[in-house]
Structure formats: structure tokens, C-alpha cells
């Protein structure tokens, strides 16, 4: 176990160095620098003169080539310093800490909803396998699965924010809150919840369709096993066979799925946060790429990659917990 963990850790560290180095190289080679992109776009007359620009380049370490810059970034990282955002003038760690909450609010709610609905749905679908109602609902889920999130988001925005404007069903178009920070606590919670309905719906329906299909496929595989026939022969009822005997054995692939959803859980979704201008991590990443804000790009890339690796490790470890036959060595 210990050797396994050590091996995974070493492999993970190598992966992280390769990924961050690659992304750093990419970021530094994007046309424009944080200084030129930011100032040139807002107002051409505010372009800073060459001397100032040279001074700023020195301050932010942009005068060095990217391998040197990467080595410096890595050195600072080892001391626990992710650097300061160039365009936002804030430490990157603080910036990330501010954005984790909103991202988690959407993806956590969505993940919870997905599992609460998709497990019963998967059980139902395999219990009624082949019947008319099952085929209709499976087809509907399949169609939903192919429906692009950003199209659905636009549809929902048009329906709830434009067509239903002025009715009780109206929902806000974007943002996270309209109320000032000194509004009563309860009103603010309600307001954020109203803003969160559409993004959560968008994030939930795709994974709902995918997960329930996944559960159903695994259940159908399990139902064909010999121990299911034994359980039936013993006289166990159909639901007991399905839930107690078959479903327990499909937990293994489900656990893998859960581990792999970790990066999305904290990292949020770039597209959904961008459409609904939700102040989360995905949107921060999108903006930092547009602003060429190297420290933020790197901080987020590091976090996304660590989460991905951690999710994979978690999935493998949980695998052992759920299935004692599997050993990690």
C-alpha cells in the first residue's frame, strides 16, 4: 500500500511538472502580454510609454525567457507562493479562495441532484427494461444527453428571463446576486438561490442523462450474472434482487465516476459560468486567459491538474474499499 502510494505520488508529481511547464510555455507564447492586452484594449491613449513598460516587465519578471520564468514560478510554488495576479492586483491564492465558493455552490448542488435522481432512474429503467415507458424515458434521456449545454442555457435564458419577464416565473438572466451586501441575510440567500436555478439546471441535466444511462448499463450487466439467478431462485422479490443484489455490485464503476467528477466539482464549468456570468473558477480561468494573466492561469491550471490526479487516486482507493478483491499492489 505504502509503496503503491509512493509510486503514484512520484508519477503524479512528474505529471504536474510536465503539465504546468507546458501550460506556462503556452501562456508566455500567447500574443500580447498582460500589460499590453489590458491597457491597449481599454483605451489606446493610455498605452504606457516604453520606459514604464520596461520597468513593469522587470517587476513582473516578464523580461526573462519562459524557462527561467517557469523555474522561478516553481521555486515560489515550493515556498507556497502562487504569486500575485497582474491584472487584478491580488494574490492568486486569495483570488482562488474567493471563487471556490460560488463554483462549488453550482456544481455541488448539481452533483447532489444528479445522484439523487439518476440512481432511482437507473433502477427504474432496468426494472422496467424493454417496456414502453422505459424505452420512452431512455430515449428522452438520450436526447437530453446530446443536447449541448450552451444551447440549453440560451433556451432557458430566453424562456425564463425574456419571455416570462414580469410574471412570477421570471428568473434572472445572469450574475449571482442583485442585492447589495447589506441586505438582510435571508433575502440574500433567496436571491442567490434564484440566480442559481438556471445554471444548476443546465449543469445537472447532462450528467443526469449520462449517469442514469451508465447505471442502467451496469445494472443490466449485473442482472445477467449467476448470483442473480440464485437470488431469484431463493425467492427474493424483484426489487430486493435489483437493489440488494445487483445494485450493490454496480457500486464499483459508480465510485470511479464519482472520483472522476472531483475536478468539475471544485473547478466548476467554464461554459456555464461564462454564459451566466457566474463568478466562479471556470470564469476566472477564461478571463485570465483573455487578460494574459500568467500567475492566475498557472494557479488555476495547477489546481485543475491536482484535482484531476487526486480524483483518479481517490477513485482507485475507493475501488479497493468497495471491492475487497481488488488490491492496489
Amino acid at each position: 500500500m505504502a509503496t503503491y502510494l509512493l509510486r503514484r505520488l512520484l508519477l503524479g508529481l512528474t505529471t504536474l511538472v510536465v503539465i504546468t511547464g507546458f501550460v506556462y510555455g503556452l501562456a508566455r507564447n500567447m500574443p500580447g502580454t498582460p500589460l499590453t492586452v489590458q491597457l491597449g484594449e481599454t483605451d489606446p491613449s493610455r498605452k504606457i510609454n516604453p520606459e514604464d513598460q520596461e520597468r513593469l516587465r522587470k517587476i513582473y519578471g516578464l523580461d526573462k525567457s519562459w524557462p527561467v520564468g517557469y523555474a522561478q514560478w516553481l521555486g515560489n510554488l515550493l515556498q507556497g507562493d502562487l504569486g500575485r495576479s497582474i491584472s487584478r492586483k491580488q494574490p492568486v491564492t486569495q483570488l482562488i479562495a474567493e471563487r471556490i465558493g460560488p463554483s462549488f455552490l453550482i456544481s455541488g448542488t448539481s452533483l447532489l441532484l444528479t445522484w439523487l435522481i439518476s440512481v432511482p432512474l437507473g433502477l427504474y429503467a432496468s426494472a422496467r427494461s424493454g417496456r414502453f415507458d422505459e424505452r420512452a424515458s431512455s430515449l428522452l434521456l438520450y436526447v437530453l444527453y446530446s443536447f449541448p449545454t450552451f444551447v440549453a442555457a440560451l433556451f432557458l435564458q430566453i424562456i425564463f428571463a425574456v419571455w416570462l419577464r414580469g410574471t412570477p416565473w421570471e428568473l434572472p438572466l445572469f450574475g449571482m446576486s442583485d442585492l447589495p451586501a447589506d441586505a438582510p441575510w435571508l433575502a440574500r440567500v433567496g436571491d442567490v438561490a434564484r440566480h442559481a436555478i438556471l445554471p444548476v439546471t443546465c449543469q445537472t441535466y447532462v450528467s443526469l442523462a449520462y449517469d442514469s444511462r451508465f447505471i442502467k448499463a451496469n445494472l443490466e450487466e449485473a442482472v445477467r450474472q449467476d448470483y442473480i439467478r440464485t437470488a431469484r431462485a431463493k425467492g427474493a422479490g424483484p426489487w430486493r434482487v435489483l437493489v440488494h443484489h445487483a445494485f450493490r455490485n454496480t457500486l464499483i464503476p459508480l465510485v470511479t465516476l464519482l472520483g472522476l467528477s472531483l475536478p468539475a466539482l471544485i473547478g466548476g464549468s467554464v461554459i456555464i459560468e461564462q454564459i451566466f456570468t457566474w463568478p466562479g473558477m471556470g470564469r476566472l480561468f477564461f478571463e485570465s486567459i483573455r487578460e494574459r494573466d500568467y500567475p492566475t492561469i498557472m494557479g488555476l491550471t495547477l489546481m485543475f491538474s491536482v484535482l484531476t490526479l487526486l480524483g483518479q487516486l481517490l477513485a482507485d482507493m475507493l475501488y479497493c474499499v468497495v471491492d475487497p478483491r481488488v488490491s492496489l499492489d
Partner: protein
């Protein structure tokens, strides 16, 4: 007792096709994609402002080909100062000329002006551009006809799928085949490399790669999607090659003196192709999704391209123009759905495990 006639097997792919045909939805999806291909090929003849075929000063021309490549526009029209408007110039400059016009006289890149087509008013712009009889899908904020844009965008949607997955398939198959067939340190290197690429969040990689491009174009977007989407294919190919490398027919081929490249390409690959085609088909669906998402986020190719996603992006600046969302959105959805259905049909038709389960 009559001897039962042994049914002749038509080979693996004929069998697979026979099973595929039994699924009406998968078949419908195939027909839909075929129809899209026809639309893409005939786009300038369906919607355009240039004659499909015309006779001008004694010669036959096909100016509509200019929609595929600007260099295909016959030089005589530039010399005679047509400036892209054909209907009246043709009549004025050569009264004997005739022309076969596209089905639908609208341009995907600009609004049609008043009387450009004799007696037809100018295209409505902004909120005025509701779907109507003359513009079934409406017009965008500059007055460009949405149907014409979508017809010409079909090419992009189809090309994105095929080009990017062609690239991803090639990379994935080469890397997977090398790892699976050679084993040893080659496998070690290719597997680690695949794992590392898998760990980079795809959208992060795509956004970063798209941002370093100086002059974005649809081809570069396709290359990026292809270059990031091969990991699943590589893993699957490696598994298939590992399995088939031990089989008798490979040993027989080796005994007959076939070299490793020949064995990989001629003996193992055809047998491994069916399972590899399934993720490639699903990959086409996700490539189309990624491209339209990028265009939608404003990271796609620059404006004079008619990608479906960029139409959706236009809709974001004016939410009351619902037709800019509904029609391109449905087009993306139907195309993605079709490829997913084809992929699933292919999977069920070629996977022997699923076949046995059906009985």
C-alpha cells in the same frame, strides 16, 4: 428430412451492416448526416447571391464556386466591375446573358440590399428580422439571412467532425498501436505520455492553445481539437493490439516473414478497427460540440465564417432575437444526436458481447 442450407456469411462488415440496419433510429441518423453532406456540397446552389451557372459574353461560368474559394470566381466579373452583385449587372452588361440562380437568393456573409434582386426589399436588420416567408429563419442584427448562414455553416460542422477526428484517430491509432504491439519501454513511454495528456483538463488545453494562435482560422481550430482528443482512442487501440498480438493469425503472419509494420497495418488493424471506430464516432459528436462552444465563447475563427456556434454568440448580445438561438441550436443538437446514435448503432452492431446478450 431436407438438409438445411448453410446460410452464407457475408463477412464481418456485411454482418455488422445487417445488424445496424435493424435499428431505425441509427439508420435515420445516418440518413440525416448524408443529407447534411449533400447540403454542404451544394451550399452555394441552395443559398447564395452568385449564379450557379451563367452565360456571359459568349462563355459559360459558374461563379457560385467562389463560396468555396474566392479564387474560383471568374476574373471577367471583376474586370467588368460586378462587385459581387450579379442579377442586374448581368442584364445590363450583356443583354443576351442567362443565369441559373440558387434556390434561395441570400448571402451568408452580408445583407442583401434593396432591389439587388429586382423588386425585392432590403433585408431587415436587428429586432425587425423575425422569421417570415422571405426569411424562414429570420435575419441577424446586420440583416444577414440566418438560413443562408446555416446552409453555409454545414460545411464547417461536417469538416470539424471529420478533420479533427481524422487527426485524433491517426495520432491515437499510431501511439496506441506502437505501445500495444512493441511493448517494453516503447509501451512505457507511450502509456505515460497518454496518461499525462489525459490529466490536462481538455478545455484548459484547448483554450490555451487557441489563445496562442496569431491568426485564428477554422482549420487551426480543427487541428487543436484533433490534437487534444486522441487519448481515449490511443488507450483502446493499445488494448486491442495487446490482445491481438498474441493471436494465431499474427503468429502465422510473422512465420510467413511479414515485417512489424505490415503485421500492424494489414493484419492487426483491420481486426481492431471496429471497436476503435466507436469512440471515433462519439468523438466526432464531441468535436462538433467543442467547435461550436468555442465559437460561442468568442474563441472561434474570426467573423466572416458561418459557424453555427458564432450565430449563437450573436444571439447573446440581443436576447430578444430568439431565432438566432433556436435554429442554429437545433442544428447543432440534431447533428450531435445523429453522431451519437450512429456511434451507438455501430457499437451494438460490432460488439460480439452485446450481440450475445440480445438473444
Amino acid at each position: 428430412m431436407t438438409p438445411t442450407q448453410p446460410t452464407r456469411s457475408g463477412g464481418f462488415w456485411a454482418e455488422a451492416w445487417r445488424r445496424y440496419r435493424r435499428r431505425p433510429l441509427a439508420l435515420a441518423a445516418l440518413v440525416f448526416v448524408g443529407w447534411l453532406a449533400v447540403v454542404a456540397l451544394c451550399a452555394p446552389a441552395i443559398a447564395g447571391t452568385k449564379p450557379v451557372l451563367c452565360r456571359y459574353k459568349g462563355h459559360l461560368y459558374a461563379p457560385c464556386l467562389a463560396f468555396f474559394d474566392r479564387r474560383l470566381e471568374p476574373a471577367v466579373f471583376a474586370r467588368d466591375r460586378f462587385r459581387g452583385t450579379y442579377p442586374q449587372n448581368l442584364k445590363e452588361k450583356d443583354p443576351d446573358s442567362w443565369a441559373i440562380w440558387p434556390l434561395f437568393f441570400q448571402d451568408p456573409y452580408r445583407a442583401v440590399r434593396e432591389n439587388e434582386w429586382p423588386g425585392r426589399p432590403a433585408n431587415p436588420a436587428r429586432d425587425e428580422g423575425h422569421p417570415s416567408a422571405s426569411h424562414p429563419f429570420g435575419t441577424d442584427q446586420y440583416g444577414v439571412d440566418v438560413l443562408a448562414k446555416m446552409v453555409h455553416g454545414t460545411t464547417v460542422a461536417l469538416l470539424v467532425g471529420f478533420v479533427s477526428m481524422g487527426l485524433a484517430g491517426t495520432i491515437g491509432i499510431v501511439i496506441g498501436a506502437l505501445g500495444g504491439y512493441c511493448g517494453g519501454w516503447v509501451d512505457m513511454v507511450t502509456s505515460r505520455f497518454t496518461e499525462i495528456v489525459m490529466c490536462i483538463p481538455t478545455l484548459v488545453l484547448i483554450l490555451a492553445l487557441t489563445a496562442i494562435i496569431e491568426k485564428p482560422s477554422i482549420w487551426k481550430t480543427m487541428a487543436i481539437i484533433g490534437a487534444t482528443g486522441w487519448t481515449g482512442i490511443a488507450r483502446l487501440t493499445r488494448g486491442e493490439f495487446l490482445r491481438l498480438r498474441q493471436s494465431e493469425f499474427v503468429m502465422a503472419a510473422r512465420a510467413a516473414g511479414a515485417g512489424p509494420v505490415r503485421i500492424m497495418l494489414r493484419h492487426i488493424l483491420p481486426n481492431a478497427l471496429a471497436p476503435i471506430l466507436v469512440p471515433i464516432t462519439f468523438g466526432i459528436a464531441s468535436a462538433i460540440l467543442t467547435e461550436s462552444a468555442l465559437s460561442f465563447l468568442g474563441f472561434g475563427p474570426p467573423p466572416p465564417s458561418a459557424s453555427w456556434g458564432s450565430l449563437l454568440n450573436d444571439a447573446r448580445s440581443n436576447y430578444s432575437m430568439w431565432w438566432l438561438v433556436v435554429f442554429p441550436g437545433l442544428a447543432i443538437f440534431l447533428t450531435v444526436l445523429s453522431y451519437n446514435l450512429i456511434g451507438e448503432g455501430l457499437q451494438e452492431a460490432t460488439d460480439p458481447r452485446l450481440r450475445e446478450a440480445r438473444k
